[in-house]
Structures are given as C-alpha cells and as structure tokens.
Amino acid sequence: MKTLRWKLLIVLGIFAWAGWLVYPTVVYYTQYYNLSPEAKAQVPRSKYEGLRKKALNLGLDLQGGMYLILEVDKSKLTPEEAKDASDRALEVIRNRIDQWGVSEPSFQKIGEDRIMVQLPGVMDREKARALLGRTAMLEFKLLADDKTTSDLLDRIDRRVSALERGIPLGAETPAETSATAVPDTGAKKPPADTTASAVPDTGKKEPAVAETTAVPPESLAFTDTTGATSDKPFLSMIGIVGNDMAVPEDNVDSVTKLLARPEIAEAIPKGYYFAWGKTEEAGARKFRRLYLLHQEVELTGGYVTDAKVTVGQGSDPKLANKPVVLLYLNTQGAARFAQITGRNVNKRMAIILDGTVYSAPVIHERISGGSAQITGMESMDEAKELSVVLKSGALPAPVNVVEERSIGPTLGSDSIRGGMISLLIGFIIVILFMGIYYRAGGWVANLALLLNLWLMVAMLALFNATLTFPGLAGLILTVGMAVDANVLIFERMREEMRAGKSMRAAVEAGYHRSTITIIDSNLTTIIAALVLMKFGSGPIRGFAVVLTMGILASFFTAVSLTRIIFDYFVVVRGVKKLAI
C-alpha cells in the first residue's frame, strides 16, 4: 500500500512535469500562432519568443516554407580548399539568410558536400534562390589592351575561315603574321566606358560618380549576320557597341561554341580569356558584350567590408536613376586597390561577378579611398540582393540546388486542420470502442491513452522535435496502436478469470504474462522507426520520431499507469469483481 502511494506520487509528478512542458505549446498555438502580424507586434517580444522557443515546432509541411538541399560543387577546388569548403559555404549562406531576415531558419550539413536549408514561412522562391545559389565571387581584372584584342580577333577570323574552307590549320599559319584589315574595335577611341569611382578618402561618403559614356543605342553597329560566309566569318557574328565587342543574343551560343573549339582556343594568347558581360538591351535588340581579360585576378571581394545600394546620378544613361552597389574595402583592400589603379591609369578594369562582367570602366586616376562601385543591375531588387551577398562574402565554390520542396501556408494550415480533426475523431472512436468493449477496464485504458498523447507531446517539446504531417499521422496511428498493450493485458485477464482465478490473481497474471510480449512486440516497431530515422528524409523522420515516442510513452501509460489503477481498486479497495 505504501509503495502504491509512492508509485502514484511519482506518476503524478511525471504528468505534472509533462504538463509544464506542454503548456507553452498549448498557449502558443491557441493564442499566438494565428495572430495577424500587427497583432503579433503588440505582444511583448520576449514573451512571444520565449513561448515559441518552448513550444513544439511545426514542420515545413504544416506551417509552409521552403526546404532546400544545396550541393557544393568542389570540382574546381584543390584538395586543400575542398577540405572545409562546405563548412565555409554553410557560414556564408547562414549570413545571407540572417541578413535577409527569415525567422527560425535552420541549416545543416549533410554528408561531405551538401547543405540542408529550411526556411519556415518563406515562399519567395526566386529571391531565396538568388540569395542561396549565387557564388558572389567578385573579381577585378584588367582588360587586354586594344592591340592584343584586335590582333586576336583577326587571328581567330582567319582560323575560322580556314576551318570553314577545310584547310588544315598548318597551311594557314604563315598568313597570321601579316595583319589584314580588321574592323578595328580598339582604334577609334570614343569616350570610354568610364564609370570608375573616384572616391573621397574617407571611404564612407558615397563616391562621386565620374562621368559618362555609352554609345546611344541607335549607333549599335551589328554586322549583318546573314552573310556569315564572308571572309570574316567570326567578326560577322559580332558587332561593336562603343568601345566593346557586342554579340547579339542570338549569336551568343554559337560564339561561345566557336571559342571553345580547340583550334580557336589555342589562338588565344596565354594569360588571357574571353568573358561575357550581362545581357543588355538596345531598342528591340538584346546583346552581350564580350571582353578579352587578363586571367590574373587583381583584387577579390574578400576585402569588401560593406556594400550599399544607391541610385546612380549624372547624365550618363547607364547610371542615371539606375541602381548602383557601392563597395567599401578594408584597409588592406584599399591599399591594394590604390596600388593597382595607380599602376594602370588609362587602362580598363573589369568588375566581374560570378564570371560575368558587370562593368569595365577606364581607370582615370589612382583610387585611394577604398571603395568601388558596381553598375549594370537591372533592378533595385537585384542590387539589394547583390549587396547582401557581397556583404556576406563569396561562397568558396558554386552551389547548386539539387532538391527543393516548398509548401504554401494555405496547404499547411489545411493539413493541420485535417490532421487535428482526424486525430479527434479517431480518438473518440477508439475511446468509445474501448469503453464499451472493456467497460471499467476500457476506461482505465482510455485514461492511459489520453495521458499517452499528453506525454508524447511533452516529449516532443522536450527534445525540441519537429512535428510534420506524417508525424501527426504517426500520433493518430499511435492512438490506434497504443491500446494494444492494454488489449493484450485485458484479454489475458479475461482468460485467467475464465480459468477461475480471483480478480487479484487475474490482474497479477495478466500483467505478468503480457509484459514480456508487449516488450517483444513493441521492439519491432521501434526497429522499423530507427531504420526510418537513419534513412528517411525530414517529414518521414518526423513520423519515426513520433512513432518511437508513442511506443515508449505507451509502455509507461498502458503498463505501469494502468497497473497502479488496477492495484488500487483490487488490492487497496478490495474490489472482487471489475468489469473488463
């Protein structure tokens, strides 16, 4: 009798503790979860956050949001660089998302080169992808001088026409030295594309945008591309805009392919390579600039300390009212930048982001202020995203989205409603069935079932687990399966009583004989759940966690707890007959 009292006290203690764990969940989801953002703002932040942190988490499939698996492409890294590339990538991505302001994002490295990102409540896929997928590798490189460029174009042209006529390359080589007339892309010198930043020394004031350029669109001089069989097959695909080669959008693919051919690629002098600009529009025509760059990187985005978005000023149509991102470099970067610009006055410097040239201004003078600017964005949004990624730093390697799942908030709340209704109905049906079939014993089992749910939610909250839709289904399934332990015990008790045993002996035998079977059989479900936890993805893992907790909880409630109640009636109160 005394031990019974102690047992009862312990059980009550456990449920009180469970109640304390469940309380924040109940309060949060009944009072705060569905509040409008305005109403939420009224609630003291510390109170709200405190509740939310302690409450059970809902999976993305229930509250809506995005789930992404990113893969870090290490193929171009040296083994040394590849070592912690994923960890660094994760940090950069975390930074970017934090700056964007997503509440409760979660990040996790999976295996060697994958990163899982969960963004609850986020539905703006394009923005998320722009922020996550962009390497944001910022580089400053010098353009090849005009002579090198025009010589190379000339040489490529001769090789291309030789290829077209089927002449082996060797036969054509001698001609290479005798330069023929080429449309001289570099010789005429219109006011260059000069958007270099002459920056005040503080580096914090916004740089005065230097002046202007850009040839008005109507002067776009595309050579007729239909006459591609002329003696200038390569140049016929290329036009000129201002001082730059410009390739109409339609020709970009063929030019890229042509340049990649080994016969052509070997004509490019060592230390140089071609890079594309962004797609630009001139009237109805779309084109991309093509630059010949020095391979050597003069400066990288690693020195950037801050990035701001402003609107360009001045009369230059490329700048006026166009978004501009101002970069501020740290002391070291500023010193290097000053040195580089000082050494290369009157040359052009390309500002390259993820391999695409954003602009290529002429360096007018040594720039010592430690800031630079990027132009060429299409919209203010793009500029904002760019400033975020530049501030957070570059990813050590490109990342690709290999898996993505997003669920809208409507679908999530539909799922919650559906899940809760079926939980309630399923619970009621089972309770009625048990109560009618086993009578008093059934109601004891029902109490155990209710406390089982109670305990499960408490455990989920305690372990900070996430409730997914399959998890919710697991919760409902547990209601159906958790009665098994009691069914086993009660059926056994009925058998023992039929065999003529007293109530007390039947209770004793029922529990004693069934316990081993209950452990045995529940273990198999736990094995299945453990396998799912190991191999399953997010929602499935949620199901496995709930199933495991359900079984553990049911062992406690259906076996220990009901035993205490039976013992109380049979041993303490001396009940001789109890309907089961």
């Binding site: 989205v401 898996e403 993505e404 799942r405 997003s406 669920i407 809208g408 409507t410 679908l411 539909d414 799922s415 559906g418 899940g419 209704i421 079926s422 109905i425 399923g426 619970f427 049906i429 089972v430 069935f433 009618i436 079939y437 009578r439 839709f469 399959p470 919710l472 289904a473 409902i476 399934l477 209601v479 159906g480 399966m481 009665v483 098994d484 069914v487 058998e495 039929r498 004989r513 081993i516 079977t517 045995d520 059989s521 529940n522 273990l523 198999t524 479900t525 736990i526 094995i527 299945a528 396998v531 799912l532 190991k534 399953g536 993805s537 929602p539 499935i540 199901f543 199933l547 309907a579």
Partner: protein
Amino acid sequence: MISFFPAEPKVNFMGMRMWTYIISLALAAFAVIIFVFRGFNMGIDFTGGTLIQIHLENDADISRVRAAAAAAGLYNPEIQNFGEKHEFVIKYRESREPEEVVTAMERTLGSGVRMDRNEKVGPRIGAELRQQAILALAAGLLLMMVYIWIRFNFWFGLAAMLALFHDVTITMGIYAALGLEVTSSTIAAVLTIVGYSINDSIVISDRIRELMKNEEESQMDFKKMFKLYNLAINSTLSRTSITGSTTLMVLVAILFLAGPMIFDFALALTIGIIIGTYSSIFVVAALVLDMKGHRKRKVGSAEPKKA
C-alpha cells in the same frame, strides 16, 4: 461484458492452411504480375522532376488543365486531380521553373491560379533517394529477421520472414494496381506495416512458446503441434482482431478526414495492416507447422480432422 469472440474460439486455422497457401500465393502472383506488366507509379522522389500543386479559383475539368499544361509547353506531364475539384497536381520532367509554368498556364486557364506546393528533385538526388529507400527496406527487414532469430527459433524466424515478404509484396501489388504514387513516405508506410505485422506474429509465437513450455520437446509430434498452434492462434485471436480494429479505425479517420496530402500514406498503411494481420493469423504458424512439423510427421499419425 461484451465479447465479439466466443470465450474459446475453435477455428481450425491449421486445417485450412492449404486454402491459405492458395490465397496467399495467388495474391503474391497477382502482385508480381502487376509489378511486371504495370509497374509502379514512381513519384518524383525517385525519378527526379518537378511537381507543382495548383489551386484554381474556380472548379475546372482536368482536360482543361491538361490543355493549359500543353499550351504552357509541357511535354506529356502527369496531371492529377487532388482532393477537390479546383486542386491539381502536375508533374513534369522539364527543367523549367514552376513559377514560369504557372504563369504560362494562367494564360489559358484565366486568372486565379495559385501555386500551393512545389517539389523539385534533381535526377541524381532521385537516384540516391531510390537507393536509400531500397537500403532502408533491406536494413529494416534484415534487422527484424535478426531480432526474431534471436528471440525465437530458426523456423519461426524463417516463417515470419516469409510472411513479411508476403505482406510487402501483396501490399505493393495492390498499391501498384491502384496506381498510387510510390514516394519516400510509401517506404515509411511499408516499414511500419512490417513492424506491425511482426508484432502480431510475435504475440502468437509468444503464446505458442508459452504453451510449449508444458510439453516435452521429444513428445511433440505433428498432431500435437497442430493442436497447440491452433490453440495459440485461437486464444490470441480476440487480441489480434481488436488491436487490428482500433488501428484500422484511426486509419479510416485519417483516410477520410485528414486530406489528400496524406491519403496515399494512410491507404498504404490500411492495406498493409489488413494483409499483415491476415498473415500473422493464417500464414506464420502454418508455415512453421509445415516446415518444422514435417520432420516429425513420421512420428505422429495423419493430420487430425479436427483441432
């Protein structure tokens, strides 16, 4: 006291085991035929591709949605009505952004197309998820087998194993026949079924073992085993059925009330639990009797007519 079962049911389960084998083998053969000729409706989890779920402002016929998808330039997309008349799921293989597809479809369907869900699985991830699913199933089955092996004797382990393959094959056969989509959650359902079915078999095996305790092993002949197995199944029959029923009750509640997102998962569980319960009652002990009892047959007499 209510009881759906007589105090001591006397069903001659062992006597009807030939029928059991015929039914089980027929179902399994049917499943294999379905696998071969119809195959599975693999979800994008395993094939790679894109899935979008759209919500239309007004009800629409599936043919209209199909036309809109074709007009949007999707080649042979898979389109399904999803629960309600204005919800549709579209699966396609092209690497096109969902937003772009939805905008293009909006032009044909008129305004009011909302994208509620989108899943995009790269082909490599698809292959990996497929591999993982197979690995999970294999690991799950293997662990169960080892567990049973340790817990019970060899013959029970083998019989329970065969019953598990039986359950999985038939469940998946029905699944394939109904054209339900196989996704990662189907694998979760299958493993849950396996755990449940084993659970049932263990209860019966435990009872057999308990009854065997009073018998001399050397005295066990085919006839005795036959009777004893029948007794064990009969005395656990009410438990097996009641637990099966309460589990089915909640599953039916999920099927009808929880919405289309979880319907397939719940249906897989429902089918599997019915099959699993059947195999625990009819198949496992029968197999043990035939495998183990066979060697004792010469000791005992002919098969008893009645339990």
